[in-house]
């Protein structure tokens, strides 16, 4: 007889709450061994491979690739043979095992499904005498692996009578006289604001935790519960704490509560407690706060660093690219390009590379003197010891929007590539980026960049330089426009080019020449042939 065990998504990185299932390495029916890699997941910190904790046969993959799931959600089930080769004998798990087996395969994963490998999870609460809360989820293990889920925790009920002398629950100060028991406190007369709070219906925002709590909402001094930083924040924002319903532990007021009160100022002062009660429930989320991390943070730092270090100039040029579009169509028919994608971007890239060859200065970097060994990059220096490093190679950056955010991988030594090679290099880079496999090497060492905002259906933009580079070419969408062609008004394929450059390195004359030449090469690819 075999037993089906589930492996829950662990927290593999100190406090992560979710991860994306990137790739399964096993299929249903596969034999797996303990520690065999079964899946790749991507967390906010890293892509990691998870080893299987069981030996047996894969019963089911519970989460599809590309799906993001919370820590603690079962992701795979494994049928473990009767020899029980995986893990310790399921002592306490005996009671829980049938329940897991009885659960229909593929049922929505729920917290209650025990992870039988972990002894401390196996304690079935229902076996405890006196526990009469069948809906209460199993105790959340908090030591390793699965953090406490917000809203999923429940306070254990306290004994009704007040415990003898020194224990003073709910109060950190060792008061000499026993404080009233919680149930009494709510009914007992208290200072005015306290009474108002107690009379209020239990807040719904905090979920079960808040609802089941039996602590008095305010302490004896009549002040609402809030941590000092929250008090200061409320004071700074001019929010009266006594008008807020706390949703934190013991009804304390949290930062979010203060922000929410600030976002809905009309309701707050409207009336006394009665009117307030309904307010939080009907108000939708008006603001959302997203922590800045990962690629977003890196992008922000790079953009701020670039924008406030290099004085940017952006120039624009509208170009009739009908002939480029035609050239692209004809290239696609050539055997050299049979298996690779050819797009106008290819010719734009080639045009830029050709322009770089004609004007090497555009492919350069401003490098401040490494004064004081500070090593924090370009700094803001404009003088002593700074150098312009002209690169006689081109690592061509292509800005790419990915699920993880903006990244600018580059094609190494793009200047040495033939047109078919360049097409392949661009295709490979794109595929790599789409698969999330861009390496640090792909992302560093760029010398000049292209950003294609045309794919988003806009005409142009004023791109910010990739840090360490002096120019970036932006191409907009190609669309049919009325255009004077050979003296006649005609409908032509037109796009807008924009070139941003670092004015410390590149003057208007040079920038204009580069942009004009790129435009000329796209207007008539004969120039591309002539100049390359």
């Amino acid at each position: 007889m075999s037993e089906r065990k589930q492996f829950k998504l662990p927290d593999v990185g100190e406090g992560l709450t979710e991860a994306e299932i990137v790739k399964w390495h096993v299929r249903v029916g596969d034999q797996v061994e303990v520690n065999q890699t079964i899946v790749e997941i991507e967390t906010a910190k890293a892509v990691v491979e998870l080893p299987c904790p069981f030996e047996g046969t894969v019963g089911e993959l519970l989460v599809e690739e590309g799906t993001t799931v919370d820590v603690g959600v079962p992701i795979i089930s494994v049928d473990v043979g009767a020899d029980g080769s995986a893990g310790p004998a399921p002592s306490g798990g005996a009671a829980a095992a049938p329940a897991a087996e009885a659960a229909p395969a593929g049922a929505t994963p729920v917290e209650a499904v025990p992870h039988e490998e972990v002894p401390h999870e196996e304690v079935p609460q229902a076996d405890e005498p006196g526990v009469v809360q069948p809906e209460q989820p199993k105790r959340q293990p908090v030591l390793v692996g699965y953090g406490v889920k917000p809203g999923a925790t429940k306070r254990r009920p306290r004994k009704q009578s007040s415990p003898p002398a020194p224990a003073t629950p709910a109060s950190s100060t060792p008061a000499p006289s026993p404080s009233p028991s919680p149930s009494v406190a709510q009914a007992a007369p208290a200072p005015a604001p306290a009474a108002a709070q107690a009379a209020r219906p239990a807040p719904t925002v905090g979920g079960s935790d808040a609802a089941s709590r039996s602590y008095p909402q305010v302490v004896d001094n009549g002040m609402p519960l809030a941590k000092p930083p929250v008090r200061k924040m409320a004071k700074d924002l001019g929010v009266d704490l006594s008008t807020i319903t706390g949703t934190g532990p013991r009804g304390s007021i949290t930062r979010e509560d203060v922000q929410q009160a600030l976002a809905a100022p009309a309701e707050a002062p409207a009336a006394a407690s009665g009117a307030r009660a309904g307010a939080p429930a009907t108000t939708g989320v008006r603001e959302e706060r997203i922590a800045v991390r990962g690629v977003r943070k890196a992008t922000a730092n790079a953009m701020v660093g670039s924008a406030f270090t290099a004085p940017h100039v952006t120039e624009f040029l509208q170009v009739d690219v009908t002939r480029t579009v035609e050239t692209v169509r004809r290239l696609r028919e050539l055997p050299e390009f049979a298996d690779v994608k050819v797009s106008p971007l290819l010719l734009v890239a080639k045009a830029l590379l050709t322009a770089v060859a004609r004007y090497p200065m555009v492919n350069s970097a401003w490098v401040d003197a490494p004064a004081n060994g500070a090593g924090n990059g370009a700094g803001n220096g404009t003088g002593g010891g700074a150098e312009i490093v002209v690169k006689h190679y081109v690592n061509l950056g292509i800005a790419a929007a990915t699920e993880r955010g903006l990244i600018v991988p580059n094609v190494k030594d793009a200047h040495t590539l033939t047109l078919p090679e360049l097409a392949w290099a661009l295709a490979e880079l794109t595929a790599k980026v789409r698969a999330g496999k861009a390496t640090p090497a792909d992302l560093t060492g760029g010398t000049i960049s292209i950003t294609n905002v045309g794919v988003f259906g806009v005409d142009t933009g004023t791109p910010i330089l990739t840090p360490g580079e002096s120019a970036i070419l932006c191409i907009g969408q190609i669309r049919d426009m009325p255009w004077v062609h050979e003296g006649e008004l005609a409908v032509r394929k037109v796009t807008t080019l924009a070139l941003s450059f670092d004015h410390r390195v590149i003057d208007g004359e040079l920038g204009s020449k580069v942009l004009r030449d790129v435009g000329a090469m796209l207007e008539d690819p004969i120039h591309l042939i002539a100049w390359s």
Binding site: K45, G87, R158, A167, P370, V389, P440
Partner: protein
């Protein structure tokens, strides 16, 4: 800004071979060094090989357990086995070790059960071994502070008046390349030097302080820093278990004789992540890792044993099987570790009972007893 403009300080690259003490090449060739002769029997070499394989296997199991949600975090020693086993096997019973949180192989040499280490990273104990019993202090998480503890302990040994005698001991402080930038480490260098304390500073230079490369830490090879503090420094091939053994043995003997401290820089490489929460692909290149793979500390001992005809396939298979068996048992025992008792936190705050702690303990016990079910003693 280019990467080049802020990296690449002069003189921190690979050293000329003459500066690096090496007794066993990556190809398994035994070489001699005039200052560090090493007499070692075939049996001892096989023992070292067994140690190396075992600690790597234990480490692997711990990483896997972390990935399975059974440990909170783990700092892998992958690649640093020789530095730890070589120095760990150089110790005698009278010596005292002050480790970081990565010295799993040194702990192994000091007979600290690996399960204790796993319990620490599972969050169910605070180490759980008596440092005095093992001559191995508890893991220190704070970077570099153990070097001060080790220096103080060494000065204590000095004041016992045992140096130069049979009872003489020394301390060895482990730390990484990143720690050399810490004030604590530099302060301990100063104290150890001016008091001529019996201590060996064992720096495992694994090239990366999390994501910070060595060239951003120092403009001179780390072992040369000792000279500025007034004691000898030596750079040893940290992937060469023979060299680590010989150099540590000599430095410890030197310290026990009352001749003062030594800085050993074991030049090695962290093959894995800094900890299981780190992703090294974000800051270092695969090519670098590959180049170090060729210098693997275990492979070279195996090549040596084969070349010398000192071990056969049966021996290697037996070592593998034994390591696997240990790992399987370790996994089982780890999963069976009980949760700590809530009141255990009060137990080892003071050596003797303390009225304030006792009072808090009573209050907490009463608090736990105030719940309707699952009271204090689970």
């Amino acid at each position: 800004m280019t990467i080049d403009s802020v990296r690449g300080a002069p003189g921190t690259g690979e050293l000329a071979d003459s500066e690096l003490v090496q007794l066993l090449t990556p190809e398994g060739e035994r070489v001699d060094h005039p200052d560090y002769p090493l007499d070692i029997t075939a049996e001892q070499v096989r023992g070292l090989y067994r140690d190396l394989v075992t600690v790597r296997r234990i480490d692997l199991e711990a990483v896997a357990l972390t990935r399975q949600g059974e440990l909170g975090i783990w700092a892998s020693l992958l690649g640093q086995e020789a530095a730890q086993i070589g120095s760990g096997r150089a110790l005698t019973d009278t010596d005292m070790v002050f480790p970081t949180y990565r010295e799993h192989a040194v702990a192994y040499c000091r007979n600290v059960p690996p399960l204790n280490l796993l319990g620490l990273f599972r969050g169910v104990n605070h180490g759980g071994w008596d440092p005095k019993d093992h001559g191995f202090h508890l893991y220190t998480i704070v970077i570099g502070s153990q070097t001060l503890h080790a220096t103080g302990y060494a000065m204590g040994i000095q004041r016992d008046g045992v140096l130069g005698s049979d009872k003489a001991g020394a301390t060895i402080a482990y730390f990484g390349d990143g720690a050399t930038s810490q004030g604590d480490v530099n302060e301990s260098f100063v104290f150890a030097s001016v008091f001529n304390a019996p201590i060996v500073f064992f720096c495992q230079n694994n090239q990366w302080a999390i994501s910070e490369p060595l060239e951003k830490q120092s403009r001179i090879p780390l072992y040369k820093r000792a000279q500025g503090f007034g004691f000898p420094g030596v750079r040893v091939d940290g992937n060469d278990v023979f060299a680590c053994l010989a150099v540590t043995q000599k430095s410890l003997a030197h310290a026990r004789d009352g001749q003062g401290p030594t800085l050993i820089e074991a030049y090695t490489y962290r093959m894995g992540a800094h900890t299981t929460t780190d992703d090294p692909t974000r800051y270092r290149l695969k090519a670098e890792e590959e180049s170090w793979k060729a210098k693997d500390p275990i492979e070279r001992v195996k090549k040596y044993l084969v070349k010398e005809g000192e071990a056969d396939e049966a021996f290697f298979a037996d070592v593998e099987a034994e390591a696997k068996r240990m790992a399987t048992e370790l996994r089982k025992a780890c999963l069976a570790l009980p949760d700590p008792q809530p009141l255990a936190i009060f137990e080892h705050v003071y050596a003797d009972p303390h009225p304030m702690i006792s009072e808090e303990q009573e209050q907490f016990a009463a608090y736990l007893a105030s719940f309707e079910d699952e009271g204090t003693a689970r």
